[in-house]
Symmetry: C2
Subunit: 271 residues, 2 copies
Amino acid sequence: MDKQPILKVRGKEFGGRGLPLICAPLVGENAEALKRELEKVLPQEPDLLEWRLDFFDSVRDFDAVVRVAQTLRRRVGRLVGELPLLFTIRSEKEGGHPIPLTSEERVGLYEAVCQAGVVDLLDFELGEGEENFRRVRETSRRHGVKLMGSFHDFAGTPAPEQIMAKFRQGERMGADLVKVAVMPQTAEDVLTLLQVTLEGRKSLTIPVITVAMGNYGSLTRMCGWVFGSSVTFAMGENSSAPGQIPIDELKTVLKVMQKALGGYLSESWIP
Amino acid sequence: MDKQPILKVRGKEFGGRGLPLICAPLVGENAEALKRELEKVLPQEPDLLEWRLDFFDSVRDFDAVVRVAQTLRRRVGRLVGELPLLFTIRSEKEGGHPIPLTSEERVGLYEAVCQAGVVDLLDFELGEGEENFRRVRETSRRHGVKLMGSFHDFAGTPAPEQIMAKFRQGERMGADLVKVAVMPQTAEDVLTLLQVTLEGRKSLTIPVITVAMGNYGSLTRMCGWVFGSSVTFAMGENSSAPGQIPIDELKTVLKVMQKALGGYLSESWIP
């Protein structure tokens, strides 16, 4: 029996047996920059777009965020049809751009974009606390928006049990999928990340996303899917984290891997 | 201090910090077929050539082997300059083509090609026994030919300790480098192979080569070098083992990886 946990958003499948979804970040600081970025990114055919709200100058102005989101959505619709939009406020301590919003205000912003119906997926950090997470979860569920619980360690790679604990925490707090990004310091760290990805994929009821950041970690952006990571983040126009590689180069590698590995991962490979 | 064990053969470096050497097998059954194969393979610029003697019809005729080897060497010289030539007799039980040579005769053939000065490297299976290995080691050393000790498991992936034991056995028996190829049955097996590759690379005094065979194992043909495997086998014209991918596709992937990983593996990554 196939017990893989699949999440479908606007026709894109998270947690399937094929290639990973390619997510391109948008990091423009204003509407104009975002529009330019979008024009460069869309022709490269990512599977989803992540708007990194922490880079947006007017992030305190929730109406401005909603207006820009509507513009982005319209342009995406006109240029390539529908694509899932993921909104992310990355906190400074997890590698984000410093922004003048309290945790409370971040929840408010997420509630605003859910209510305005301009987003498909939210990335909310597990570290924002149970109560904040619960509020974002309730609002997002009410508006049919999917929720990703995330954890980023820019200094190192936690022990496998600690990474699994983050997966479990996301699952327990009701996330639709969970993401863990680490900074490997050694080759062992990369293997640890891949190993725990596999364990998470096998034991969780939600899809997992994992990343090892930095130069050497970039290997996981290419081959993490073989061990169960459902999304890989790649540079469209700009990178949002260390080690992201250009979408076209990533696609070239994935195409060779898909052919060599025989297209889809079997159940004996990944349950 | 850099304690990496480097082996240089005709200008090619085994066990360095850059991309792995790409080895193309030649599996032609006679001189004519081998010549045709060579014409197809050389333009793809492999780093070394492996003549799989177990596919050669006249393998019992040592003079014929030497003559064909001389012809191959001349054509290589004329077409691309010098390339290391590796000769391999793969036994049937380790995945080779059935051939009518006893272990004793295999040693004799290796002695003949060493004496004729037509080979740079020999692949001799660890399973051929200590005494045979010792004889091949002595003759090869006398003629300046390097020796690879090899072990292939076409049924599964031995435990890490068993793979390490094969590495150690090769080192102890005086091999210049050691190769282990396994058949992964699960995603964990691929990670095990990469993990033990790294351990071998860190603890051995000779370079290691590892391969996970089959479709999913082909991932290791692309990224095993990041964990210390010094050679990757790829299809020039024909494959000699399951999971080998075409040289041009492999090169495309390696180029992206090299750029993403920053060119060379640092000492903090791999000692």
